[in-house]
């Protein structure tokens, strides 16, 4: 029963106000989270647990994560052990052949590279890729078997992606709005053309604050970029946010996922809320909550000036779906209850699992608000 309650709170975190990078204002999302938690609590409180075997057979697969951009390419390869096997008895995984090719002339073959079951092969390298280039990754490896050793089967997995063209931001407008006693900074972006059904974006803002307390530059990443007032919508799809660091879907640095839905023609606007952010300072991440500041500094630092830079990524379709699938994992509990449609389980790796996607970045100049 305890596991059930744990899942309720997992769900609550996922939809309400989970990690700080996805923190939102109370309201719609919190209401949804409360409602879901309530239903979940009722269900678990009245349910009885019954273990059952996972009869459906699943094979071990190669798991590939690969993000390609004109500047760099990052990939990792690991062994995805079947859940209906005995995970803890697996030996090291040996990828025997890795091949990376691209239109730009890259033809890299790694042979005999070894990684362990707990440590994937992870490589980042500058890639001489241009927008529009096709990039392909393929890998083979021997599958570890339960009890030690390797099977004779050679796993094969491959995937391909196209490097998208960077979005073109033709106009940027900044303004400050006063809502009751709050001041909100609004940024309006205009693109060169109206996004279509197959256009996907990721967006985030870098802010540099100069405060009375710090001599170093403080980099601010917005944890809550969009006010619900701007949404006109009750859909959490508007809030899809993943962690994206070091060219991988990981970490805490948020990337808000956008589709054409969030654009009004060529225009996308959003708010930057100074009171709901996460700070990066001296390479460490700190949640911007009063408690931390009271404990460590005794008072909130006074911000003297701020500068903002918008990073707008164009995402390949497969990257978008992969990222969204990462977010949606947290909702599989509801899906299995029949309370949501099937989970996104996106993979574009033939013969394996994982994803290969591509991004291209456009940045604004440093922006200031008066």
């Amino acid at each position: 029963m305890l596991k059930g309650f744990t899942h309720i709170f997992d769900f609550f975190s996922a939809t309400g106000h989970g990690n700080s990078s996805q923190r939102t204002k109370p309201g719609r999302t919190r209401r949804t989270g409360l409602a879901g938690a309530f239903i979940g609590a009722v269900l678990f409180a009245t349910a009885c647990e019954m273990p059952f075997d996972l009869k459906d057979s699943h094979d071990g697969r190669l798991y590939i994560e690969c993000v390609v951009s004109p500047d760099s390419t990052t990939f990792s390869i690991n062994y995805a052990a079947p859940l209906n096997g005995r995970r803890k008895t697996y030996d090291a995984f040996v990828p025997s052949v890795l091949r990376l090719t691209s239109d730009g002339g890259l033809n890299l073959v790694l042979d005999g590279t070894q990684c362990t079951i707990d440590q994937p092969l992870s490589v980042a390298f500058p890639a001489p890729l241009a927008e529009g280039d096709r990039f392909t990754i393929s890998a083979e490896g021997k599958e570890p078997v339960a009890g030690g050793g390797y099977s004779d089967n050679i796993l094969k997995a491959s995937g391909t992606t196209l490097v998208p063209y960077a979005p073109e931001i033709t106009k940027v407008v900044t303004e400050t709005e006063r809502i009751d006693t709050s001041y909100l900074h609004k940024i309006t972006l205009t693109l060169d053309r109206e996004p279509g059904q197959h256009d996907f974006f990721g967006i985030r803002v870098v802010r540099i604050n100069v405060t009375t307390e710090f001599t170093d530059t403080v980099i601010v990443k917005p944890g809550h970029m969009i006010s619900e007032m701007a949404l006109g919508s009750l859909d959490l799809d508007e809030m899809l946010s993943i962690g994206f660091e070091d060219n991988r879907i990981q970490g805490e640095m948020p990337l808000l996922l956008l589709t054409e839905r969030q654009f009004d023609g060529r225009v996308y606007d959003f708010y930057v809320d100074a009171y709901d952010s996460e700070y990066y300072y001296d390479g460490n991440s700190y949640g911007m909550d009063y408690g931390w500041w009271w404990v460590h500094e005794g008072a909130l630092p006074e911000i003297i000036s701020s500068r903002y830079k918008v990073q707008l990524f164009r995402l390949s379709e497969e990257f978008y779906y992969s990222a969204k699938a990462q977010y949606m994992k947290s909702l599989d509990f509801l899906s299995n209850l029949g309370l949501t449609p099937p989970n996104f389980t996106y993979t574009n790796i033939d013969g394996g699992l994982g994803y290969i996607g591509a991004i291209s970045l456009a940045e604004t100049d440093w922006l200031r608000f008066e």
Binding site: K3, G4, T15, P26, G27, R28, G36, L43, F44, T46, C48, M50, P51, F52, L54, D56, H58, R61, Y63, Y79, A80, A81, P82, L83, R86, R87, K88, D118, Q119, P120, I179, D180, T181, E228, M229, L231, G232, S233, L234, D235, L236, D237, Y321, A325, L331, D332, F333, L334, N336, L337, G338, L339, T340, P341, P342, N343, T345, Y346, T347, L353
Partner: protein
């Protein structure tokens, strides 16, 4: 019951039946809404023979007696739960009103109540269906071979007819079940001219919970008050007036309402004041007037005007304040979500028997649909940091967050159809039909040409083979993120960007009566569905209504399978077995770039039914229901990085829950009291052997490091005692 000993006698009988059929037309003028190939006085026989002797595939006919037979969940016989037991139908979540027919998505069933479309067909989130069996006369349930006179949904037709009131005597019944009560009353308004039939239902749980909550409040003191409750009620009314032998007027009304409300006030604590007021009201209203007229000796007609609306209103306010020496905070939230779907339509239907070889049906309809869903909210928050009870400048803020949107559409749907049941040879008949529809929505007109065809070959007097093909289109879409019928769901039309859902289905089988009282039918189907919609957002309860067209992804479905029906019926003993072997698949590229199992893909389904009148006035019913488990999405692989497991999915609905099975039993005890009144006591036991079937499941890691599923079951044995008093 006719028995044919050779082909010649069968031919004679067939011709005689045709002649009788035509001759029976004048006699049927008083009730021309009755099924055209069913003579009222011979209905039971006709129903039994129907599957073998008509071209129709995939049809189940149930009369009132069959609907009321057996167990009654929580005391009320339920139309949809009866249909869930039919082969080829998946029920979805236990105890809910899901009806997933031949791989359908549950929103694609056309429910007709006296010929009027009904959008919201359940109460209490699906626990009860909207059809009161006290007033239902019969229903036709089509899973394939849809006649051309039906359209608008693509997976099934549930055509429910209520019973007209008795033209000579007053009588009725009163029933009391576990959580609801029913009242039915009928009789003449003008003897042999005008009659009425009235049915009422209401749950009475709130009558118990209200005083119980009051007692709890009193014990907790004056600072804490909580109130709330739920009830549903519905009304069916039908008035029939006969102007003469050739003219009948029917007026029918259905009104159903669910009301869920709760409020709470709490001032106990440390300066806290909390107030919550929530109300959810949803329901349906239909009204129709139908004029049945004989236009010629061999032609009857029905002209109908109707109104149908389903609506929901969800609202709540939440008010909380907190104050102590250091700070003061108040928050107020107000929310209102209102939606409806509304139809206003006229229809004209004609039945024509030009000769003994043709039965032609044709007609037209014009319907205006209105769809609307609006959501408004406001949230005000204020915060003050205090020092000595005085706000500190610069440490206070007030925020107002409000918004809302309403999305509404109007759409016209004119349609026309023609179908002919043509007896080509004594052993060969065809039903060929065509339905044409235009769905005009702002900015787009969707045309649909829907051919329908069915063929029957009578191999011998006791064996026939049939095949059918249908093309169906659906222009109304259920905007819902869930598989549960909740008032937050709403309906929206096909638009310029959302295409109509369409299905193509072929079905065929062999239908036999090898022995007296024994029927064995084997039927198969293959069905494809295009432009299915699936919500692809992350919000479980409120899909974005302002941009709902972009919140759903387009996909495909296919389903195929085989159904076997074996029935042995005698006067006192009925035994039946229904088995389904099926596959139901989906493809939504946004979810997974290949086909995957549907959530309700239950490859095996077996239903064993027995009813026995073992003594005068005493009946027993048994029903054992088995099917493969519903499917869930489980991680299939685990990637370990730095000692931390990361679960990976291969595709949606990749795991099957444990098999589902349960036994239900019902006992009817009939008694006639000294005043000649009929008293029925029904004892129903749902889930006799108390198997907790899995409703959902989670992944669990054992101490040994293995993974297993952990299923959660919720519905135990539910005994119910119901009393019915007929007067």
């Amino acid at each position: 019951m006719f028995r044919f000993t050779n082909i010649r006698s069968f031919v004679r009988a067939a011709l005689l039946a045709s002649a009788l059929f035509c001759a029976a037309v004048p006699a049927r003028a008083q009730k021309v809404v009755e099924k055209q190939d069913t003579i009222r006085e011979a209905r039971v026989t006709a129903i039994r023979e129907k599957a073998q002797n008509s071209t129709q595939t995939g049809l189940t006919r149930l009369d009132a007696k069959q609907l009321k037979a057996g167990y009654a969940v929580f005391g009320s016989p339920d139309v949809i739960k009866t249909l869930q037991l039919q082969p080829g139908v998946a029920a979805g979540n236990e105890l809910m009103s899901g009806l997933y027919v031949h791989g359908g998505d549950g929103s694609d069933n056309l429910f007709l109540l006296d010929g009027v479309p009904l959008y919201n067909v359940s109460h209490f989130g699906g626990l009860f269906s909207s059809f009161n069996t006290d007033v239902v006369d019969n229903l036709d349930f089509y899973k394939s071979g849809f006649p051309a006179r039906y359209g608008g949904k693509m997976s099934s037709i549930v055509d429910v007819q209520t019973r007209e009131g008795d033209m000579r005597e007053y009588h009725g019944s009163a029933s009391l079940g576990l959580i609801d009560g029913r009242l039915q009353f009928e009789g003449p308004i003008v003897t042999d001219k005008t009659s009425f039939n009235l049915g009422l239902r209401r749950t009475w749980l709130d009558i118990i919970t209200t005083p119980a909550i009051a007692i709890v409040n009193k014990r907790r003191g004056n600072d804490y008050n909580v109130a709330g409750g739920y009830f549903m009620q519905d009304l069916n009314a039908r008035v029939t007036h006969r102007f003469g032998e050739d003219n009948t007027l029917d007026a029918c009304v259905y009104w159903g309402k669910d009301n869920l409300h709760a409020n709470m006030n709490d001032s106990e604590g440390y300066g806290e004041q909390i107030g919550l007021d929530m109300g959810v009201v949803w329901g349906s209203l239909t009204a129709s007037a139908a004029w049945h007229k004989r236009l010629a000796p061999k032609m009857t007609s029905t002209f109908k005007a109707y109104f149908s609306q389903s609506n929901s209103d969800i609202g709540y306010t939440f008010d909380v304040s907190f104050k102590d020496e250091d700070e003061k905070m108040t928050m107020f939230m107000d929310d209102s979500d209102v939606s409806f779907v509304r139809d206003l339509g006229v229809t004209a239907d004609f039945d024509w028997f030009p000769n003994s070889f043709h039965h032609v049906r044709f007609g037209a309809q014009a319907v205006h649909h209105g769809y609307s869903s609006g959501r408004d909210y406001v949230q005000k928050t204020s915060y003050q940091m205090l020092e000595g009870g005085i706000p500190i400048p610069g440490y206070s803020y007030t925020e107002t967050d409000k918004g809302g949107t309403t999305n509404g559409y109007g759409a016209w749907e004119p349609a026309a159809y023609i179908e002919d049941e043509w007896f080509i040879l004594y052993n060969l008949s065809v039903n060929a039909g065509l339905r044409t529809v235009l769905f005009a929505t702002p900015g787009k007109v969707w045309p649909s040409l829907e051919p329908r065809a069915a063929l029957k070959w009578q191999i011998s007097p006791v064996i026939s083979m049939k095949a059918s093909f249908t093309h169906m289109a659906q222009f109304s879409h259920l905007v819902s993120a869930m598989y549960i019928d909740l008032p937050s769901n709403c309906w929206m039309p096909s638009t310029a960007t959302v295409r109509p859902m369409v299905s193509d289905q072929v079905a065929g089988g062999i239908y036999t009566t090898p022995f007296k009282n024994f029927k064995l039918n084997v039927e198969g189907w293959y069905k494809t569905m295009d432009h299915l919609l699936a919500y692809n957002g992350a919000n479980a309860f409120y899909p974005a209504i302002d941009e709902w067209e972009k919140s759903f992804v387009d996909g495909r479905g296919k389903s195929y399978g085989m159904e076997v029906e074996a029935e042995w019926r005698t006067r006192t003993l009925n035994l039946a077995a229904y088995y389904t072997l099926s596959k139901s698949l989906r493809r939504f590229d946004a979810f997974y770039p290949d086909w995957f199992n549907d959530r309700n893909d239950n490859p095996h389904k077996l239903n064993l039914v027995a009813s026995w009148e073992f003594a005068s006035g005493m009946e027993v019913f048994l029903n054992w229901n088995y099917h493969s488990g519903n499917r869930v999405t489980f991680p299939t692989n685990v990637v370990t990085e730095d000692g931390s497991p990361m679960f990976v999915y291969d595709k949606p609905y990749n795991t099957s829950l444990p098999d589902y099975h349960r036994l239900d039993a019902g006992f009817n005890f009939h008694k006639i009291n000294r005043k000649g009144r009929h008293i029925i006591t029904n004892l129903s036991i749902y889930n006799v052997y108390n198997r907790l079937n899995a409703a959902f499941a989670l992944l669990d890691e054992t101490p040994e490091g293995n993974y297993q599923g952990l299923a959660y079951g919720m519905v135990p044995i539910v005994p119910t005692l119901t009393f019915q008093y007929k007067f």
